[in-house]
């Protein structure tokens, strides 16, 4: 009897307002606001060429932030991103130097190095139970040491392979390939997070690892794989960057750690883990890229850029990043 009655009660249809959460909406609102401010300065800001150019520049950050998001959803953090990026770029360029075979394997090899680095992070966090902030910090220093010893402290002489250049700087039917690469990465990430057991396990672990473990999730393996994916994506971002610039450079990844974290967090992903969606990360990446671009177009001095950049992040976090009052 009761079951029949329950069946007749319709679940409230989710209307579109309840599906879009506040942080993502605010982030997109801020993007539009930024574009409007920019268009007051110069009408070029609303031209398709400028917007595509921004998406292209943002694509590198987008790929790196995707990996960072997986780790932040777990409630962890990956501080080894700078040298994972550089490692990927340098190793892919180095492989290119080894003849035609090396050229073919350049991209997979660069990404593989990043995956291995992420795997070390993951083992440290998942199995040795060392706080992620420390393990990734130490692994970052080790990777830096390896690369400094490998290059002899100079900028590496190897240059990027044609495939890397094509992926990062080429265009397909007027759309920059980098944007397509980011779109594919994003679609895979959305599928992974929303439609697979692995993705659901990430959210579960981020909420309460002990509960996820008791529900039969192999939490340690999931954490390890997530870190490996983060390392691989960071290295892939580095491969693209090397293709864009033509070659790898020392400390090319330093400029990507804080923006990656900021993009994920501005997109509404909780730094404590367990909450957030990929749409928000896209918004965060575009927001940060636009902000940096507008500040440099307006020819504001470097100090002013830093202050405004920090100030905008603080204000946006105060708008919607606040935790509920515990009392």
């Amino acid at each position: 009897m009761t079951t029949e009655k329950l069946d007749t009660v319709k679940a409230p249809r989710p209307n579109w307002t309840s599906r879009i959460d506040l942080p993502v909406a605010t982030a997109f609102g801020c993007i539009i606001l930024l574009l409007l401010i920019g268009s007051l300065y110069s009408p070029n800001f609303l031209s398709p060429e400028y917007l595509l150019q921004q998406l292209k520049v943002g694509a590198f950050l987008g790929v790196i932030a995707t990996g960072m998001m997986l780790v932040i959803l777990l409630g962890q953090i990956d501080l080894s991103v700078p040298w994972a990026v550089t490692l990927g770029a340098m190793m892919a360029s180095a492989a290119t130097a080894y003849g035609p075979m090396g050229e073919v394997l350049a991209i997979p090899f660069g990404v593989l190095c990043g995956v291995l680095m992420g795997l070390v992070n993951g083992i440290g966090v998942a199995y040795l139970r060392i706080p992620s902030m420390i393990v990734t910090l130490a692994v970052n220093v080790v990777a830096q040491g390896l690369m400094v010893a490998y290059t002899g402290g100079f900028a590496p002489v190897d240059s990027a392979s044609p495939a890397m250049r094509y992926l990062a700087a080429g265009t397909l039917m007027g759309i920059p390939n980098a944007v397509i690469v980011w779109a594919v990465t994003g679609i895979l990430a959305v599928f992974l997070l929303g439609r697979t057991t692995f993705g659901r396990a990430i959210y579960g672990i981020g909420n309460k690892e002990a509960a996820a473990y008791l529900s039969g999730v192999p939490t340690q393996r999931v954490v390890m794989i997530a870190f490996a994916l983060c390392g691989g994506l960071a290295a892939f971002g580095g491969v693209l960057l090397a293709g864009y610039a033509g070659k790898a450079a020392q400390s090319m990844g330093d400029a990507y750690l804080l923006p990656a974290i900021a993009a994920v967090v501005l997109g509404g992903t909780s730094i404590l883990g367990g909450r957030g969606n990929y749409l928000g990360t896209i918004a965060g990446v575009i927001l940060i890229t636009l902000l940096q671009s507008i500040l440099s177009v307006m020819q504001i001095a470097e100090f002013g850029r830093q202050i405004i950049y920090g100030g905008v992040i603080i204000v946006m976090l105060l708008l919607y990043g606040r935790e509920k009052s515990g009392r």
Binding site: I77, G304, G310, I314, L317
Partner: protein, 328 residues
């Protein structure tokens, strides 16, 4: 007997850092061409004290289970500011020093207010405030340098030797521990900081002044980071707004704190441990210079030692009796 065991357990991290430091420093001095002379000790002490001050700054915040990623930037800001303010007569130098320290206090207060009343996660918000602090530093000091008439008297006094043997910077650090850390540790606010770090809800339920404790921790963190920046100016006689330096000091401070046995989960450890952690970290870095290794291998060596040191934290796995304990 139980009291003794408890005390030992409480100080274990600090003792480990002390042991690493003594081992590394002995190796360093034993292989140093000049040997164990006051000058060698003075140089090592000056470099170590710099990081020790920033590590102490980090400790206050880490004890509340937070993290301050802006210490390096406050350090840089203080360094740049001091390169302008430490000029002229002793009176104006004294005013300059207090100005730098007040700036540090203000930076810490901003962090504290944003964390407490903004209810934001410290790890994110200090990244953003760090960018602002660095921007201000770059504004006042776009190019490395120092003001005309830079007064080096105080700088020389605090980086020199007392009675020709004991490094003055080390003495300053010891005085600082006795005047600030020990009273803080015994005060109500100090205990509250530990309580908040162990469990904030429990601390709140027990009537611990949670907000006051957190605010004090962030303000003291800003003050100590500014002191570090002041010392940087004492060594170099100039200021430089270097992003790389700021990041290095932030990350090194976390490494030193961890080596010194302060738990990143909050509520455990002491600033004294962090000091030994900082000294040990510096000694490890210097070790390669005396062994005639190619300097290219130095970052790798430092990284591997750091990785091994933090892996020691995995030792607690042997004490786990229930797998669920892993996830706390």
């Amino acid at each position: 007997m139980i009291g003794l065991r408890y005390r030992f357990a409480e100080q274990r991290g600090m003792l480990l850092a002390l042991a690493i430091f003594i081992l590394m420093f002995t190796l360093y001095v034993a292989n140093h061409p000049a040997g164990f002379t006051p000058n060698v000790v003075q140089t090592a002490a000056n470099k170590g004290v710099l990081l020790a001050l920033v590590a102490m700054a980090q400790t206050f915040v880490v004890l509340t289970a937070g993290i301050d990623l802006s210490v390096g930037m406050i350090f840089i800001l203080a360094n740049c500011l001091a390169s302008y303010l430490l000029v002229g007569t002793p009176v104006s130098v004294a005013l300059g020093v207090s100005g730098v320290l007040l700036t540090g206090l203000a930076c810490g207060a901003v962090n504290g207010l944003l964390v407490i009343y903004g209810r934001l996660q410290p790890i994110v918000i200090t990244i953003a405030t760090g960018a602002v602090f660095f921007g201000i530093a770059l504004w006042i000091r776009p190019y490395p340098g120092s003001a005309d008439g830079f007064s080096s008297d105080l700088a020389d006094a605090l980086t020199g030797k007392v009675f020709g043997v004991f490094p003055a910077s080390l003495l300053f650090l010891i005085v600082l521990v006795l005047v600030v850390w020990v009273p803080f540790r015994r005060s109500v606010v100090g205990r509250a900081v530990y309580a908040v770090g162990s469990s904030e809800p429990a601390a709140y339920m027990s009537g611990v002044p949670v907000k006051r404790a957190k605010f004090t921790a962030y303000v003291l963190s800003g003050l100590f980071a500014a002191m570090g920046g002041l010392f940087m100016t004492f060594f170099t006689y100039s200021g430089e707004a270097s992003l790389a330096n700021g990041n290095t000091y932030t990350l090194s401070s976390i490494a030193a704190v961890v080596l010194g046995g302060v738990s990143l989960f909050g509520g455990r450890g002491s600033a004294i441990g962090a000091i030994f952690g900082a000294l040990a970290f510096r000694a490890i870095g210097d070790l390669l210079f005396v062994f005639d290794f190619d300097p290219l291998w130095q970052p790798l060596f430092q990284g591997v030692v750091l990785l091994l040191a933090v892996s020691l934290g995995a030792a607690r796995l042997f004490q786990v009796r229930n797998r669920l304990d892993l996830f706390t």
